[in-house]
C-alpha cells in the first residue's frame, strides 16, 4: 500500500508566547519546535498498516519553512520511509497548505490512504484534513478513535460529543484524522534516529506543486495576549464557612448558578 501522513511542526506546549510589536504574529525567536502531538497517532497508524501489508511504503508530507524538516525527521525516526517538504512561508493558511500537500501527493504514483492528526495544536483549526480531502476528491473522516480495514474501504469509530461514537464507512482512498486513543505511538529507536538524519527529504517549491500566494484565503492580524486576569478572591474560614460563602458568591456576585 502507498500510505501518506501529513504532519505539522508546532511550538512546544510550554512555549511562552510573545507578540511582535506590529501585532502581525508571535515572536518565533527562541521557540522550541515539536511535531504536533496528534500527528504521532497518525504516523503510528500508518506504520501499523504498513507492517500488516508487506511491500507498503509510508511517506510523510509537511508544508512549511525549512525548519519543518525536523518534524519530518521525527516521523522518519519512528519508521516512515520517505519525506517530502513543500516550502511555504510562516503564516501560510490552511487552504494554501492543503492545496500544496495535495499537489505534492498528486505527483506520487499511487495513493491508498492518508492519515493526519485531528488538529495541529498551534492554531487548533481542525480544517486541514477536510481541505486536503476536497483537493483530492477523497472522503474524509475526522476525530478517528479506531479503524477497521476492509477491501477498498474502512470503517471508522469517530468521537462525538457526550461520549457517543459514530461508526462511519468510507471508500478508499480516504483522508482519516487521528484522535488520541487510536493507538499508542512508538518511540523512535536509536538506529532509526541515526538513519533518519541521513535520509534525503524531497523538497518542492510552491510553484512545483501549483500553488501561489493567491491561494491564501485568510490572514491573521492584530495578535494580542489574552486579557490579564484580575486577582481573584480567596475565601477563608472553616470548611462550612468556605462552602457557604463560595455558593453565595457564585449565586449573588458571579450569577453563574
Amino acid at each position: 500500500m502507498n500510505i501518506y501522513v501529513c504532519v505539522k511542526q508546532v511550538p512546544d506546549t510550554e512555549t511562552k508566547i510573545k507578540i511582535l510589536p506590529d501585532k502581525s504574529g508571535i515572536d518565533l525567536s527562541g521557540v522550541k519546535w515539536i511535531l504536533s502531538p496528534y500527528d504521532e497517532f497518525a504516523i503510528e497508524e500508518a506504520l501499523r498498516l504498513k507492517e500488516k501489508n508487506a511491500g507498503s511504503t509510508v511517506t510523510v508530507v509537511s508544508v512549511g519553512p525549512e525548519r519543518a524538516k525536523e518534524a519530518i525527521r521525527t516521523a522518519l525516526a519512528m519508521g516512515a520511509d520517505n519525506g517530502i517538504l513543500v516550502d511555504a512561508p510562516e503564516g501560510a493558511d490552511g487552504a494554501l497548505a492543503a492545496k500544496a500537500a495535495a499537489g505534492a501527493i498528486k505527483k506520487e504514483p499511487q495513493v491508498d490512504i492518508i492519515f493526519t492528526g485531528k488538529e495541529a495544536i498551534d492554531d487548533g483549526a481542525a480544517q486541514f484534513s477536510q481541505f486536503l480531502a476536497k483537493n483530492l476528491n477523497y472522503p474524509c473522516v475526522t476525530v478517528v478513535l479506531g479503524i477497521e480495514y476492509g477491501p477498498g474501504k474502512v470503517q471508522c469509530r469517530r468521537e462525538v460529543e457526550g461520549g457517543a461514537v459514530e461508526m462511519v464507512e468510507a471508500t478508499l482512498p480516504a483522508v482519516l484524522a487521528a484522535q488520541k486513543g487510536l493507538n499508542e505511538p512508538r518511540y523512535a529507536s536509536l538506529p532509526n534516529i541515526m538513519k533518519a538524519k541521513k535520509k534525503e527529504i524531497k523538497t518542492y517549491s510552491q510553484a512545483d506543486v501549483g500553488v501561489s500566494a493567491s491561494d491564501q484565503k485568510v490572514r491573521l492580524k492584530n495578535f494580542e495576549l489574552p486579557p490579564p486576569k484580575q486577582a481573584g478572591k480567596k475565601i477563608a474560614g472553616d470548611i462550612a464557612t468556605q462552602a457557604k460563602e463560595l455558593a453565595r458568591l457564585l449565586r449573588e456576585e458571579a450569577k453563574v448558578i
Binding site: 508566547i17 474524509c140 461514537v165 471508500t171 490572514r219 480567596k234 457557604k244 455558593a247
Partner: protein, 321 residues
C-alpha cells in the same frame, strides 16, 4: 444587511443549544437569519428555530441524512449556500460543525475561520477573533477574498440572549445524494446522561488528587446538583480515573463554560490552555501556591474531600430557594 445562514445541529431530533446561540446572535444583529435544518423526520423542529429568531428554515430531509455524515451534509449545504449566497455561513465548532464546515468552505472556495471566540458585527462588517497557541494568543481573522465567509464558533462564546420569536418560513430543499463515498452506519451512545464538557454551562473537573475513579463520585454528586459536566486533568486521565473524552486541556477538550470548578488540579499550562476562557473560574486546592489560583476568580484553599461534599449541600440548599 447581508443574509446569514446558520447550520442548526440536531441529534436524535433534539436541537443543540450552541445552534440557538448563533441564531439569537445573528437575529439580534439585524441580519436576515436563514437556518439550515438537516435530518430525516425533523420538520417539527422548524418552529423551535423560529422561536430563537430564525426567519427562514431551509429543510432537507432524506434517509441519508438521518445520521450525520460530513459528505452528505456538505453536499446539501454547498447547494443551499450557492443558491442563497449568504454573506456569512455559521455553525458551532462541534464535532459535526467543524468537520462539515471546512469541507463546505473548501468547496465554495470561501475563506474559513474556525473556533471563533468573539464575533462583532458593524453593519455587514464582521470582526471575528479566534484563539491561537491554546489560548495564549488571540488574533483577528482577515478574509482575503470576496463571497460567503464560513465560520465556526465555540460554544458559550457569544453570550447571546433571546431574540424576537418568529414564525419561520419553511423552504423544503430537494436533495440529490447519489454517489456518496461515506456512509453513516450507527451511533453508539455514551454511557453518561451528563452533558458534554464542551457544551455544558458548568464544568467541574478533578485531577490526580482524586486518587481513583471512585474518588470522582463526589464530583459527580456536585455536578448533578447543577446539571454540570465532569472534566478531568490529563494526570487523572492517564491514571485511568476518567476516559480521555473528559480531558480538559491542550491535548484534550477546550471548554468555555460560564463556571469552571477545578478541584485538586495544579493548573499546569497545558491544562489552563483548555479552560482559561471560562467566564468564572473556581479553584479548590490544598496548596495556596498552586498556579491554578492565578487564573481563579474565587480560590478556596481546602481539602477537596471535605469542601466538595459541603459545597454539594450548599448547592442543594440554593436550589430549594
Amino acid at each position: 444587511m447581508a443574509k446569514v445562514l446558520i447550520l442548526a445541529e440536531q441529534r436524535d431530533g433534539k436541537l443543540k443549544k450552541t445552534s440557538f446561540e448563533l441564531i439569537q446572535f445573528c437575529a439580534k444583529s439585524g441580519h436576515e437569519t436563514h437556518v439550515a435544518l438537516l435530518g430525516d423526520g425533523v420538520a417539527g423542529l422548524a418552529n423551535e428555530l423560529g422561536a430563537q429568531g430564525a426567519k427562514v428554515v431551509h429543510l432537507a430531509e432524506a434517509p441519508e441524512l438521518a445520521m450525520y455524515t460530513a459528505e452528505a451534509y456538505c453536499k446539501v449545504l454547498v447547494e443551499l449556500a450557492k443558491s442563497l449566497s449568504p454573506g456569512f455561513f455559521f455553525a458551532a465548532h462541534t464535532p459535526t460543525g467543524r468537520e462539515a464546515m471546512a469541507l463546505v468552505a473548501q468547496e465554495l472556495e470561501a475563506g474559513y475561520a474556525s473556533d471563533c471566540t468573539s464575533l462583532q458585527f458593524q453593519g455587514d462588517n464582521l470582526t471575528a477573533r479566534r484563539p491561537l497557541y491554546a489560548g495564549k494568543a488571540i488574533a483577528e481573522v482577515e478574509f482575503l477574498g470576496t463571497g460567503t465567509r464560513v465560520l465556526t464558533v465555540r460554544a458559550n462564546a457569544l453570550g447571546a440572549s433571546a431574540a424576537t420569536a418568529q414564525t419561520p418560513q419553511v423552504q423544503k430543499l430537494s436533495v440529490n445524494l447519489a454517489g456518496l463515498k461515506t456512509k453513516g452506519l450507527s451511533v453508539v451512545k455514551g454511557a453518561t446522561a451528563r452533558p458534554d464538557v464542551t457544551e455544558a454551562a458548568i464544568v467541574i473537573s478533578g485531577g490526580r488528587s482524586l486518587k481513583s475513579a471512585d474518588g470522582f463520585k463526589i464530583l459527580e454528586e456536585l455536578a448533578d446538583t447543577v446539571g454540570a459536566a465532569v472534566g478531568a486533568s490529563r494526570a487523572a486521565v492517564d491514571a485511568g480515573f476518567r476516559p480521555h473524552r473528559d480531558q480538559v486541556g491542550q491535548t484534550g477538550k477546550v471548554v468555555s463554560p460560564s463556571l469552571y470548578i477545578a478541584c485538586g488540579i495544579s493548573g499546569a499550562i497545558q491544562h489552563l490552555a483548555g479552560m482559561r476562557t471560562s467566564k468564572c473560574i473556581v479553584a479548590i486546592n490544598t496548596d495556596p501556591e498552586a498556579p491554578i489560583f492565578q487564573v481563579a476568580d474565587y480560590g478556596v484553599v481546602a481539602d477537596l474531600f471535605q469542601l466538595v461534599p459541603a459545597l454539594t449541600q450548599e448547592f442543594k440548599k440554593l436550589k430549594e430557594h
